[in-house]
Amino acid sequence: APTATPTAESVAVPTQAPPTKAPKLAFTNTEIQQPQEMILATTSSTQDSGLLDYLLPDFDKEFNIKTKVIAVGSGQALQMGKDGDADVLLIHSPAAEKEFMDAGDGVRREDVMYNDFVIVGPAEDPAKITGLKTSVDAFKAIAESESKFVSRGDDSGTHVKEKNIWKKAELEPVGDWYVSAGQNMGAVLTMADELQGYTLSDRATYLAFLQQGLSLKIMVEGDSSLLNPYGVIAVNPAKSPKIRNDLANQFIDWIISIPVQEKIQVFKKEELGQSLFYPSSKLWQEAK
């Protein structure tokens, strides 16, 4: 678990629209109706970790909504928002999210939660990074020893984070040791395991694969620059008449509400001995 209790360094500013304290029903007449459908585009990590399977049934039941989850890359999720093919986005790519909001593609953004990245590597640790305090130092050591490093290479939130670290380390990773895989997190983890290399992973996916027999170990963690904040965005309803902005707001209000935030905190905590995601909505922070 992260050592310090970090505060999310959210690049994208939450929008002005104040979240309502208690979500209200999307429709008032409570007779049984066909559930209304809403499309949530998200990065694969939220689906692959099982978080959405854990949270969404409550939401769907409470509001008689059917949330359709489309798990894709962050870039594609944002593109879906731009094209009006999704009603609400749940992603972790702060800079791109800001751009999205600035372009007027989204109408409301809220912090939801964060988890953190860890630098993992083979037990032999050829670059000797175990115990290093910062990600920048670790990356420097890896580059210097030219140990294998597998990169997502797909402009995902994780990849963006990785590139930021290289930038901070003032390094240009090129060479045989640097493998740009262009794949999802799980594939990159197994690849790194296979090649006995290092990689940067979000904790949730790492833990999931650890249970499947991954041999990589966490080498560096807890650095505040390794935080991974997730935001939720309601897509601008001007994009398409089919966009359900009402449901999107409903969802945002719900996911940032205290009870749901608490639920996020305890997700898989018992099983893994640590939280996978840490709540960070404004309401939650104010309440603390």
């Binding site: 489309i70 197994t190 991954l214």
Partner: protein, 235 residues
């Protein structure tokens, strides 16, 4: 490796203890690919028969296009259908009620039809053009209309047509790129066997993924064993 064996066992376990969710996914896979295959057959067999029997200028060009279609990358098909049906896409934009929406079963069927049809056309063409040309003339002389001639030839080329359909079905029931993109792999509504396999792989549940793969293969085998029994004596 243990994992492969585990996967196979998992597959058997899934099939026999099979929970409702799994059966729903199986049913959906079958339904989508089945409907898509029927549509592809209806479009592809007549066109393939025509290409195999008729001689006209530009036939080679059409053949080359069909051959190319036989190698349409599912991801590209998925992408193109996605862009067309997207709410800001050419078709999605029109907002006509009969145009399927993204992330729905009809959209997936559209993508699969686009993938399977060229295969059915190509293989039907090959099968049909190998039928003894004397037979066509003979049947015509007996008073067959062009349609009846085509039917007679298709009937003679039965094995080839069956294999064309088997190949078409195989290509779409095992396809993941297009259904993932167009269907979105939504639990309980557009999740099929292949996208479920993909998801479980991403989640690191390799044995579950292999297990689902086994289920898929086993179903395919059962269907195909049925097909070989239907295919008639001597073939």
């Amino acid at each position: 490796m243990q994992q492969l064996l585990d996967g196979i066992l998992e597959g058997l376990r899934l099939l026999f203890t099979g929970d409702a969710v799994l059966w729903e996914i199986i049913y959906l896979s079958g339904r989508i690919s089945g409907i898509a295959l029927v549509i592809s057959a209806v479009l592809g067999i007549p066109f393939g028969a025509f290409l195999g029997l008729a001689r006209f200028r530009g036939r080679r060009l059409v053949q080359a296009i069909v051959y190319t279609g036989m190698g349409l990358p599912p991801v590209v098909v998925g992408l193109a259908v996605y862009l067309l049906l997207s709410r800001s896409g050419i078709l999605g934009h029109l907002n006509w009620s009969w145009i399927p929406q993204l992330f729905t079963v009809p959209a997936m069927i559209v993508a699969q039809v686009i993938i399977a049809t060229p295969l059915v056309v190509g293989y039907t063409m090959a099968a049909v053009s190998e039928v003894n040309p004397d037979l066509r003339i003979q049947v015509r002389s007996l008073g067959a209309t062009p349609l009846q001639i085509t039917l007679a030839v298709l009937c003679e080329a039965r094995l080839g047509i069956i294999v064309a359909l088997v190949g078409g079905l195989g290509s779409i029931i095992s396809e993941v790129g297009a259904v993932m993109m167009v269907g979105g792999n939504i639990e309980g509504s557009t999740r099929v066997l292949t996208t479920a396999i993909m998801l479980e792989t991403r989640r690191g549940n390799l044995d579950l993924a292999i297990g689902l793969g086994m289920v898929l293969l086993l179903l395919a085998f059962l269907i195909n064993f049925g097909v070989t029994q239907l295919q008639g004596k001597g073939n």
